[in-house]
Amino acid sequence: MAEPARSRPAPAVEVRDLNLWYGTFQALFEIDLDVASGVVTALIGPSGCGKSTLLRSCNRIVERLGYVSTTGSIKVLGHDIHATDASPIQVRRHVGMVFQRPNPLPLSIRDNVLFAQRLHEPNRRSRSEQDATVEQALREVLLWDRVKDRLHERATSLSLEEQQKLCIARLLPTKPTVLLMDEPCSALDPAATTAVEELIWSLRGRYSILIVTHNMAQARRASDECVFMLMGRVVEHTPTERMFVAPARQETADYIEGRFG
């Protein structure tokens, strides 16, 4: 597999020889991938190439389907997430996920932000600590000023853009290290897309972000590294500027120039 060029600190996510089957259908083949720490890595490729499956493997949410089997390993910060003493619950605390359609829980804005923290900490925090957590998380996603007077309203009453920002905000209180994003802007209009993209870019550095996108322009302007997948395999993994200027593989060139997919 193509090796990323730069030297860098330990990767945030290390995927080794990952194979994944939905029942008898094999969706991923021998994936080896290092997701660099503290940058934005974009996963691109045509529909059905396995990029969402790979993303959803990183927090084991793919296993919800019940008929999924895997071989190989995924390490997050050096810990094997499939180890016998690792539970998906702990993995998901460190690996947050944003979905294609904003999916705030049918609770208040405040309760959405505090949801994960309340799950993971048996002792309830004091009101003022909770308030601080909510404010900090909402400030970080640039939503605080817009919603601070209606924290008790239903999260579903927000606009789609605000909902998606809230969905990012509610990941932050448990201090995750990796954020997985599955086409986070595909349900948004252009202005909202720009706003959410800028937000994601601003989170760079503090979090390692792995983002699936269908949008070549988005991958190009809002990622540090790019991973091109085809038919369940990683074809190429290079810094973004290199992939769009001088792709190493013919398939990559064909795809980013729009000859298929």
């Binding site: 949410i61 919800r64 619950i89 998901r92 999916n103 829980l105 049918p106 609770l107 949801f115």
Partner: protein
Amino acid sequence: MTPPTVAPSAGARSRSAAQALDRRDRAWWQDLLARAVVGLGGISAVLFIAAIIVFIASQGFEFAWHRLSWSELLTGARWEPTAKPPSYGAWPLIAGTAWITAVAMAVAVPLSFAAAIYVGEFATGRRREWLKIVIETLAAIPSVVWGVVGLQVMNPLIQRLFDTPVGLNVLNAGIILGLMAAPIMTTLAEDALKAVPDAHREAAEALGATRWQTIRKVVLPHARPGLSAAVLLGIGRAFGETIAVLMASGHRLLPPSSVFDSAATITATIAAELGEAAVDSDHYQALFVLGLVLFCITFTINLLADWLVRGGRGRA
């Protein structure tokens, strides 16, 4: 000279065009007939309800209007329609119905919700399909069979377990009614759970919630209107059930003061006494008034359940 052939006038032409369009062929008549038949079927429910109300009210009207004291009916402690002078206090029946229904719900709500959560949220594949079939079969067991179970199985069991002289009591009838209401409540509760979008479950699980946390904090609150409707319809079922209760409750015409007392319900009293009351006698008419009371209660419950489900959909 032959007259020039006249082209058909514009009016005649449009008339024939209209005739061509207005072809009442077989399909047209079939459509008319099918619409009439299904339309009649559709509104027949309304007709039946109206007819039943009119019938019940007409049978009890004369007595209810002239001689019945409503306050005595609703609060009077003695139901002795054949005594001299007769007493038409339905309180023992109302209290008996309420007690038995309460016990029934205490049995049915935990049982049906647990079953619904298991079938809807945990069971998968073939096991889930099998369970659903079994639950539906359970709902189809005739109520007289349940009555026999109350009489022959529960009765000695309760006598032995609780050392009571009679095992035909509120507890017995309540458990039997609860088991009878549980399958339909399970089906309704499962529908309510199924209506919760999977995106909510996925969101909660991605945030690190266990399956149970997801159910408790997200699924159940979101499904609450539907679950309430399930309970209400179960209550309606328990209120209206007759033969099984008559067999299992002991049919004692006094307000019960514990679950080990025998009791009588409104439905069982109507069933037991209507056959021996002379047609159009006060007793006969009083039973129809009871029927009207029962009808009003179940109608209100159903309306409430319907309102809850609609309200829930509107809010979500």
